[in-house]
Symmetry: D2
């Protein structure tokens, strides 16, 4: 399989390079009859747009999306949906030594090893701008989920060393600060941390958490297409993500079974869990409880400090990266994580439709 | 897509339930001409076999594998390879309340929600015995990797709270203790911890780490089939895994770019990295350095302590699980992690073959 | 993708060689709650079993199927179903020059070119016995279709030069003659033709037709997964099939639009077609009318006449094939065609479930 | 799987409607280092462009292609290639009763049944303009094949009742007549036939044949991904194709084994076949001989004669279709057939690369 397609029943295929003519996505398998306008998608793209705060690249891109196919009179037709975003900022410039040097922490070296050469303009396909296609597709997926009562909430759980503990979580504050943290106070702390860090010409990472409410139980396919396996792949496919956790995640490895098991009990005739260490997933399927996943994001590799590296010709050299780079990508990556989660969930909801003979009878008899 | 198939170019399809007649796997896409005998596979299966130590279930299963197709005169023919392991221990027994009660931490509830009913015999398809098929397939994949000079080393990095710090890592000791820890001393500590824990009728989890040496650079497909995304899905598809990390993993989120970037330098004409925070992966492709991945395993949900839960009829109840259960699955899961990693790597090595026109010319002209 | 898996949402993976230990199939994606016993599958296998008439190989095989997984208390559980058929007739024998010579019309040469060597025992994986796995899977698919009111009727439309014209079609006679022809009189003619042909140590082909009634309209996905495209691939994947037609098939190429278009009209409030030149398919989707497809089967390549060929060492030679071979495979291939059609239809019925938002709402809200 | 993606290792995803903003394709899995300019693709598109002769629609479309991604400095980079063709002729017009009536022979009825409504503007996604994406992708595939010495020749074997017998085949004349027939004399006959037919406000079909030279032996995967099965699906996915044949095709069903088997013999140290009844395919793999396949194309359903049909509201009515329609699509469909064949062959050539361990050793050791 080629790497630019994600999903089985609900599929997104993305394309485009950082400094190419445009970036886009084709969505296939979208159910017919979904109300869909460009604005629905634009709202998502605006959450990842550069220039939202002093902590993001100054690159000026309006990233306006155009729907080229798959809708008619404001509704999806069931056929493939093509989404296009033109790159405005593609002025040819002198890439200087970037063109002939491998930037540490970037894909320059590995792409060259794989393909024999590379598109050195801003990282080409390995650039963060590739995520525009994901977010455009994620917007459509979220739209479907909303119609089914499935709601995703995503935010920056931590920025560098500054973390929002569970007890300080404030849903309503997520969109009140530029860092999308669920605590304005922690966001302020994080901002000062970022200021200092930027003075050192350095960058940092963080943690993005996504919670999903309203997902029916039983979503996910045994044994290799488990809900957590699919979501994990989705999140790990985002450039800077180095770890993924579900529920208690790595902490679960230190717990005992008596602590980690979530006891079931009845409440108003429905099955509930007293705790949610499992993060809403049992045996690779949703258990009806809130889904909780986290992605650890590494610091932006592009920093202005001098770095040791090598040239394509195999000579040691020192590199200083100039130009516009996010000191932290976490705030802009929040909507990317939400998009990948949404794409995965719609795909699995569609796959699950044929899980019982009674579902087929309901639809075909 | 259905969930029992893993891989694209190199595929494994597994089947079988805990108390069914047998468990097996079909491998498709295995290159022709690979020397393969049942012993090659048996060696892997023996690493996950029950009854190896007092920390694993007493269930007696020899788990003998039979090759039913795909080989001729000791070599693979290029056609699908069918592997079969008969279940010996399937004596019909009274499953007591297990049949009508949802065990906390297990898939009983979610399978029932998905399918309308479930095979309650020992968890059916959601049982750990399902991994026999993975390990059988992983043995074949490892066999291929060895021929290409790619070597996997997998071990228990942590058992409950007892962890082996990097500086105490001893490769040669991994197979010298029943817990497959790379430190006999830490293994001894872990054993005493397990003894105490078992007295409390409790269970625990741990961390499994896998290192891959000899992998060429450039393996992994942009953008959704990244090496880490595929490996992450592979590991997260293992029942009890709640988190996956690559290189520094979650620690990377707290580092600065200047700390996390691995500087390149030349050594005897080849590109090297001074450090390996990235865990051998840049931009979703192998960078030629050692691959490092970790899976956090939750504690075994089956414990003998009384637990609160509900019945299929929606009544609150208390459950006491009897019978044979691993107080910790980490030691037996080590080879499962290695198998899933091997399956993923062979699949991506095959997919990578067509990455350059020069490769096609070399093969077809 | 590897070649031994068929289908996307409803998948079958087959394995096994002519003279290996066994042959089998794994079905994944089968909805839960389908009543399924070994007899349901055996009935299908018996239709392709050798030794049914003097026109089929004398090879003695009872081809008894065993269900190894995926069912519990007589119903499918939703997990992968493993089906096994042991090969009884695998006595090692002297394959004589077959082992070192390329049989005309067989896969000996092409398999050797692809893999570097081949399993020469009775054709190995390229043997007609491979279809046992397809038929076992097809039986399960047909079972699902029957529950949805979709009924397949398959028969030998022609045996060599003897064809059953539409006006002579007798449904009830299909199972009254050993050739599965819908006309006992034509079957008698065909039998005499076969007798004469066998005297000449020759073989012949024929045409198999399949009609599907009760298929809802709208099944099939635009643009590459069209109903006819998927069915065509399914039928052409059967060893000896050299052509596939839908409705008027090749005759349509000579018709005018005014002759070929099927006029719509209303009947008791439902849309009907006056004719069915289209064979029940418009724009790659079922139109609610009877599906009509035909497969042209080439003559059995194994004949007892001396044939010119070459050895693996590149020497010209003359070959005389001894032993048991079907002078015509059409009668036994009838159920193989029906099986492949059934597998395709179930796959597309499942894929179609998510075609409308209203279907998702019906199932999830 | 969704229907707008074709191929596994070499993939094309198409999108776009007849009267939407644009039509396009995304190619993924294209090897890096292939020289590729827009002109290479334009040359293919021009072969299907409307208005080439008086036998094709008068619709004016220049169908200029734009490469939006996947190339750098005139070579493919290995990442997804996005191709875009703007629709010029999308003037909103009164579609009259077309909007509320089901055209016989078209997908109007089936799309409405599947999705609950349809894009009635010129057939939307089911329009022949959808093939622009296929042809753009096919141009890239053909480009790869040429580099490997694989050459496709495609032409109109028959137009309505006028067929070019094998003995009259003239390769050099294919591009000398507007009908792409390999015989100028038969093309002249066909032209007069078409003139007469057009006077009757009627349409007709024909047969397209494709020959492939230079394909190595062993291409195609057992058992479901056979070369003929994959090619058959590719051709049958083209709107108007009702039958597909390989080699002798349907004639093979009437031959005897002694006539149909192609004898092998040695010529200058290589294995040859005395005849090619098999059409270059044995056991689902290429045998090194010329590949021969044929597609039977139905007559254009859009005719100006009054036709009986029904409205979306279920009333019988009479329909007269006005406007620009091809009386025959065969000439323009020639390049579509060639494109689908090329896409299939590249996909299988890439899949075949991992068929032997020695191939992996050659590439990785």
């Amino acid at each position: 399989m080629s790497g630019s397609t994600f999903g089985n029943r609900f599929r997104i295929t993305t394309w485009g390079e950082s400094h190419g003519a445009a970036i886009g996505a084709v969505i296939d398998g979208c159910p017919a009859g979904l109300p869909l306008e460009a604005e629905d998608i634009q709202a998502f793209l605006d959450r990842r747009k550069p220039g939202q705060s002093r902590f993001t690249t100054k690159r000026q891109e309006s990233d306006q999306v155009e729907i080229l196919s798959g809708t008619f009179e404001g509704r999806t037709t069931g056929t493939s949906i093509s989404l296009l975003v033109r790159n405005q900022d593609q002025r040819s410039r002198d890439y200087g030594n970037i063109a002939s040097v491998y930037r540490p922490g970037h894909a320059d070296y590995t792409y060259t090893q794989k393909y024999g050469f590379r598109d050195y303009r801003g990282g080409g396909r390995s650039s963060g701008r590739e995520t525009i296609g994901r977010v455009a597709g994620g917007a459509v997926a979220s739209h479907i989920l909303r119609e089914l009562g499935v709601v995703l909430t995503t935010y920056a759980k931590a920025v560098g060393p500054v973390e929002v503990p569970e007890e300080e979580y404030r849903f309503e504050e997520i969109f009140q600060n530029k860092l999308y943290m669920p605590s304005n106070q922690r966001a302020a702390e994080a901002s000062s941390y970022l200021e200092a860090m930027m003075k050192n010409l350095d960058s940092c990472g963080g943690v993005i958490e996504c919670r999903v409410a309203g997902l029916p139980a039983g979503i996910g396919e045994p044994v290799f297409e488990k809900l957590d396996a699919c979501l994990g792949k989705a999140l790990l496919s985002i450039g800077a993500v180095k770890a993924v956790e579900f529920g208690d995640g790595i902490k679960a490895a230190r717990l005992n079974g008596s602590q980690n098991n979530d006891a079931f009990f009845m409440e108003n005739g429905t099955v509930k869990k007293k705790t949610n260490h499992a993060g809403g997933i049992l045996g690779g399927m949703s258990d009806g409880d809130t889904l909780v996943m986290r992605a650890s994001v590494k610091p932006t590799p592009s920093i202005a400090q001098p770095q040791q590296t090598v040239t394509e010709n195999g000579e040691d050299t020192e590199l200083v990266i100039h130009g516009r780079h996010d000191p932290i990508i976490v705030p802009r990556a929040v909507v990317v994580v939400e998009s990948m989660a949404a794409l995965t969930l719609v795909d699995l909801l569609l796959q699950n439709m044929g899980s019982r003979m009674e579902h087929l009878r309901k639809l075909y008899l």
